[in-house]
Amino acid sequence: MTQRSTLSHLDWLEAEAIHIMREVAGQCANPVLLFSGGKDSICMLRIAEKAFRPGKFPFPLMHIDTGHNYREVVAFRDKRAAELGERLIVRSVEDSMKRGTVVLKHEGESRNKHQSVTLLEAIEEFGFDACIGGARRDEEKARAKERIFSFRDEFGQWDPKNQRPELWSLYNARSHKGENIRAFPISNWTEMDVWQYIEREKLELPSIYFAHKRPVVLRQGSIVPVNVPLMNGELTNLPKAGEEIIDLQVRFRTVGDISCTAPVESDADNVEKIVFETATTTITERGATRLDDQTSEASMEQRKKEGYF
């Protein structure tokens, strides 16, 4: 026998993720895959290709757009969906604001947590019974305890104390009308696995994942990007009075709403260098870059209970 008899760790993780996606397709009537243009969801699209080609994906792609996303990422999102020939649905937090279902406390408030409202509205609009997402258990401690198939009630709420037992690879995606399953095929991947997979599969990424010069300010120990252009050319994240703008060589480790994703200083301008940097880094992914998770020790858990991914 020429082939090895056990899978390498990346092959194993990929095989598990393919199996999970096919279970969603096999068990659910109307699923959707959440695609933001970020690195985790880019891996998810490759897994979907491996799971379903030469057929089409048995689900559309959907992005909940806060209206405050990096232009490079939005452009990449549209390009990638078109290349794959798959349907992309975009629903916008700004539309929820117009409808009055999202009310910001003040104009500058981060729209990140309000994505939950728009997501639930989209689930209702299309009648989705399952959402496939790229969340990973290593990202955050509430996620470390969430099931791969996570049941949400009519209000999209996660009840951490009342989760369905999940054994072997026998997944239970049954739900009643109005209820919803969130499925996380790359639950068992770490940030390192994601980068190694991107390297192995030669996946294309939005340019802001690689080291580039960008105007930033230093605010409470974080690097905060400023004067970021939106899709309409308008600038967001304006510096506060008295803040000194510096041009820094940075890259993003996570990509999301502009108001809550911060870059790290880096000169890693290709995937191989990023893999090396990830192997030697001393700060966690979310600790370094997600301003929203630092608010309190339990902030992710709180958001999930309210319907967040």
Partner: protein, 424 residues
């Protein structure tokens, strides 16, 4: 060639840790993550702050496994948590099962995907009831490798005699349980002796460190069987009018639960029993020559056979039994006890069948390990039962093949997963 590629990839090992808070289980996991440099500076500073807030002198590594807000408030662990670390040659997934009253249910859940269990023993206390319980559960769930870790050696002056006594006691009852592969190691999780580094206090122990043992434990789930089992998850029929080549494409998608398959092999599709040969094996539409255990692939057959989700493709020389009655060890997971008059749904591979309880042969008292008569099944109960099935299942004994020997029980009224079963 980059530095990483010089290492061979030894795949991925899933293991679980059994023990209660007092055994130093969280400290052991914290120590493994810390010594393999998995814990990053911000996490460490967060737990240092919490340690200080709680008035502890040194950084408490056990805080790393603290999870949900509700758990932090109550100071207990509610649910199975998964942790990750990598040594460069191998990736590890730790299932951390909490040790309070819901123990059986959580441990069975954590053990279902593990290939090795670490049984923690406090060197001062020796073998306790819970040690027996953990060991029995690990053997019931078919974990092939047990590692008995005698922890807190620092509190018994690193005494070799204490360690040897515990080892002898354990071997005596392990023989009765029929556990085969058991290894022993003395540790101090608190001081980091014999976890990743050997330390300098246990020089009388010349065996491998804990991490060395993890590095060499076989990762494959199914070491015992070569019988090819392929439950069909999804059927791909592209029907793309722009691409007439795909007009007749019929791909059977699934994950290989056991064994290997090559192009040209003779196969049988169950339940129809129709036979064909393998025309192609693909991943993402690209041909590969062979599929191996745990690989997710698409199989194309030479003949047109009507096949759908819930069917199983096997090699014609190794057809499993189609059973309409099963005897199984069941762990009840739900707060509502099993109702003997009700019909439940059994999910086995990708196949569902309605099922009714025919008999409870006995219940296992997990503390005394005695078989006792039982009329009902409540949460955390483990029992040997017989089910009658509406549809046949294509099953193997669980101890031969986890993938085709395991099932879950679903309550159709609320869709909850209420039980876990292992076919005898």
């Amino acid at each position: 060639m980059s530095a990483r590629e010089q290492f061979e990839d030894h795949g991925l090992l899933r293991f679980l840790t059994c023990g209660s808070v007092d055994d130093g289980k969280s400290t052991l996991i914290g120590r493994l993550l810390f010594d393999t440099k998995t814990i990053l500076a911000d996490t460490l500073s967060a737990i240092a702050k919490t340690s200080e807030k709680r008035g502890m002198g040194a950084v408490d590594l056990s805080l790393l496994t603290d999870g949900l807000q509700a758990e932090r408030e109550q100071g207990i662990t509610i649910d199975v948590a998964y942790r990750y670390f990598s040594t460069g040659t191998r990736k590890y997934i730790i299932a951390d099962a909490p040790g309070h009253e819901q123990y059986t249910r959580n441990m069975v859940t954590a053990a279902s995907t593990a290939n090795l269990a670490i049984i923690l023993i406090d060197a001062r206390k020796g073998i306790l009831t819970q040690t027996r319980r953990h060991s029995k559960l690990a053997s019931l769930v078919g974990i092939p490798h047990l590692l008995v870790a005698v922890n807190k050696m620092d509190l018994v002056d690193y005494s070799q005699a204490t360690y040897e006594k515990i080892k002898a006691d354990y071997l005596e009852f392990a023989g009765k349980l029929g556990i085969e592969d058991v290894r022993f190691i003395p540790l101090s999780a608190l001081n980091g002796d014999m976890i990743v580094d050997r330390g300098d206090k246990l020089n009388w122990y010349d065996g491998p460190t804990l991490l060395d043992i993890l590095e060499e434990t076989p990762a494959a789930h199914t070491e015992h069987t070569e019988k090819f089992r392929f439950p069909v998850q999804y059927v791909c029929r592209p029907q793309d009018s722009a691409n007439p080549d795909l007009h007749d494409y019929r791909g059977f998608m699934g994950r290989v639960e056991a064994g290997t398959l090559k192009v040209g092999d003779a196969v049988t599709v169950l339940p129809s029993g129709l036979t064909s040969t393998v025309k192609a094996i693909q991943i993402g539409g690209v041909d590969i020559p062979e599929a191996i255990t745990e690989q997710s692939v698409t199989i194309l057959l030479a003949d047109e056979i009507d096949t759908s989700r819930g069917d199983m493709i096997v090699k014609s020389s190794e057809v499993p039994a189609a059973v309409k009655q099963i005897e199984a060890t069941v762990c009840w997971l739900a707060e509502t006890p099993m109702d003997r008059n009700r019909t439940y749904l059994i999910r086995h591979t990708t196949r569902d069948s309605k099922a009714k309880l025919a008999a409870i042969d006995h219940r296992l008292d997990v503390n005394t390990l005695e078989k006792v008569a039982a009329e009902k099944l409540a949460m955390n109960d483990i029992a040997q039962v017989t089910f009658k099935l509406a549809q046949p299942l294509f099953a193997d004994p669980y101890l031969e093949n986890r993938g085709t020997g395991a099932f879950i029980i679903i309550d159709e009224s609320n869709n909850n997963t209420v039980g876990a079963g292992m076919i005898l």
